[in-house]
């Protein structure tokens, strides 16, 4: 909206236009998908893959839902994601606060953290499988290690922007260390933490599916791998769409929280 003045010169009114475009964008995506499906179907060489198209895909949903495939995949993946994010948040925020408050810790940790951060989370998989007793734990570990960095770095970046005068004022008014943490530091950087959590969620969600390709027999990633092996392409695309939609919803929830519960004034 920022560079677009059309709302001032008429056309679709300013409230309706973004909503209209939201649907229009989706419609374009689905049309392309439908065209792709139509091409696959009409070409004898690729007719075997016609199930990738939207119509077979949508036809697959009632079955996938009623036989429990979608609900149980969502439950398993959701559980892993929730565990991993909890770990990432409860480790990431203290690490970020340490990074922001202690010069020594920041200097000490800089190279190890940058190095670890650059390792693709999936490359830990063989090690995780050996170290952890269950595949579930291994996957949670992979997701945690992927998503802890955005939380930690966003927290530290938020702290760097905190006005030191706030500490002087609160100290002056008799704040204990606990008060300083809960009343000053955490609210001051809530916005940055939430932004970090949103990024962490994005990373974890992306790592989740390939992490579930191996070993486990549940979850969204597993159901895709399973569909591929059984050549049920309609199931495969259906699950891809489920992954996209859930990811989009989760991200939008974060965006909503950031917008509504953070004190930063919009520009």
């Amino acid at each position: 909206m920022s560079n677009d003045n059309s709302e001032h010169v008429g056309g679709i009114n300013s409230l309706g236009r973004p909503i209209f475009n939201w649907f229009a964008g989706l419609a374009i995506l689905f049309s392309l998908w439908w065209l792709g499906g139509f091409y696959l179907e009409s070409n004898p060489d690729t007719a075997n893959f016609a199930d990738f198209g939207p119509i077979p895909t949508f036809k697959a949903y009632p079955g996938l839902w009623s036989d429990g495939t979608i609900p149980s995949a969502m439950m398993s993946s959701g559980y892993r994601l929730a565990c991993a994010l909890s770990i990432a948040i409860s480790c990431g925020i203290p690490i970020g606060i340490l990074l922001g408050r202690s010069k020594v810790f920041k200097e000490l940790s800089n190279s190890p953290f940058q190095l670890l951060r650059m390792v693709s989370p999936l490359s830990w998989e063989p090690i995780a499988v050996i170290v952890f007793l269950s595949w579930d734990q291994a996957i949670i570990f992979l997701l945690s290690i992927a998503s802890v960095w955005p939380v930690a770095f966003a927290t530290a970046a938020g702290l760097a922007k905190v006005d030191p005068a706030w500490f002087r004022v609160s100290k002056n008014l008799g704040a204990s260390h606990w008060h300083t943490l809960t009343q000053i530091i955490l609210p001051a950087i809530a916005f940055d933490i939430m932004t970090g959590i949103r990024a962490a969620l994005g990373v974890a969600w992306i790592v989740l599916v390939p992490a579930e390709f191996l070993g486990v027999t549940s979850g969204l990633g597993f159901s895709i791998a399973d569909a591929r092996e059984t050549l049920s392409y309609d199931h495969l695309t259906a699950m891809v769409l489920v992954i996209g939609v859930i990811g989009y919803i989760l991200d939008s929830i974060c965006g909503f929280i950031i917008k509504n519960y953070c004190w930063h004034r919009a520009q």
Partner: protein
């Protein structure tokens, strides 16, 4: 708010340096004040006024010398001597009301118990209508009023003010100068305020201390015995202003701007 006692201030040979390699910030500062007195320190930028105030507030340590408030050595910050800074530094994630009450919250007061005192402090600075507002929607002057209420709610014995009005427009500044002095007199607490504005000193102080030099020293201690309410146009105020200018000039050995602009420098 209950009428309160002020505090006896006794500062003896106070000396400060920021670290062993730095020169002295100020040297052998001596200040005595009776309960309820309003003291204003005037001096150029950099002579150590803010540092002195931070020490009295317990936010910085002395290098040598003693500092007693009511015969009690100052060990650290306390809600009994509250500092108000040049900028309001409000907490933007809290409403006006919550900002004002935050010191009481730190002291363990429940919301219900604090309510009456918070409301009183807010009405004392004339912001009743803004109690539930976001502080970011307030003007600079209103924000500084919130900061004042946040200090007053602690019912301090000593209010320390570090050039609290220098960022405000002239009208707001004049209004707040009057208000702070009358609140201090009404509640009976001491003011220890730093400024580089001679008018402010004449309008607000019982005694003006002129600080100058490097390291800073208190060069003059001048009684300002003018009845309230003080008005800029009052000949007595004008005369006192001239006297202060003269003393300030003597103390700083620097050419003075004799025009009506009494701002000694543009920054603190």
């Amino acid at each position: 708010m209950a009428a309160l006692r002020g505090v006896n201030i006794s500062i003896k040979d106070l000396t400060h340096r920021y670290n062993p390699k730095c020169p002295l910030t100020f040297d052998k500062v001596n200040i005595e004040a009776e309960p309820g007195e309003s003291l204003i320190i005037i001096g150029r930028s950099g002579c150590g006024k803010s540092t002195l105030l931070h020490i009295v507030a317990g936010l910085l340590k002395t290098t040598s010398g003693t500092l007693h408030l009511n015969n009690e050595a100052v060990q650290g910050p306390s809600p009994r001597w509250v500092m108000m800074f040049q900028a309001p530094h409000l907490f933007p994630w809290m409403t006006v009301e919550r900002n004002v009450g935050v010191g009481l919250y730190f002291a363990g007061w429940s919301k219900a118990k604090a309510k009456e005192r918070v409301d009183e402090a807010i009405s004392l600075v004339g912001l009743e209508e803004y109690a539930l507002k976001n502080t970011q929607d307030l003007s600079g002057g209103q924000q500084q009023r919130v900061a004042l209420a946040r200090s007053l709610v602690m019912e301090p014995e000593l209010l320390l003010l570090d050039e609290p009005f220098s960022a405000l427009d002239a009208f707001t500044r004049t209004a707040l100068q009057k208000d702070v002095r009358s609140i201090a007199k009404k509640m009976g607490f001491n003011l220890l305020m730093v400024t580089h504005d001679i008018d402010e000193a004449v309008l607000m102080a019982d005694r003006a201390l002129i600080m100058a030099g490097s390291p800073g020293k208190i060069m003059h201690d001048i009684n300002i015995d003018i009845p309230d309410p003080r008005d800029r146009a009052d000949p007595e105020v004008q005369r006192m202003r001239k006297d202060l200018m003269q003393s300030f000039h003597e103390a700083s050995h620097a050419p003075m701007d004799s025009s009506s602009n009494t701002q000694m420098s543009s920054s603190g």
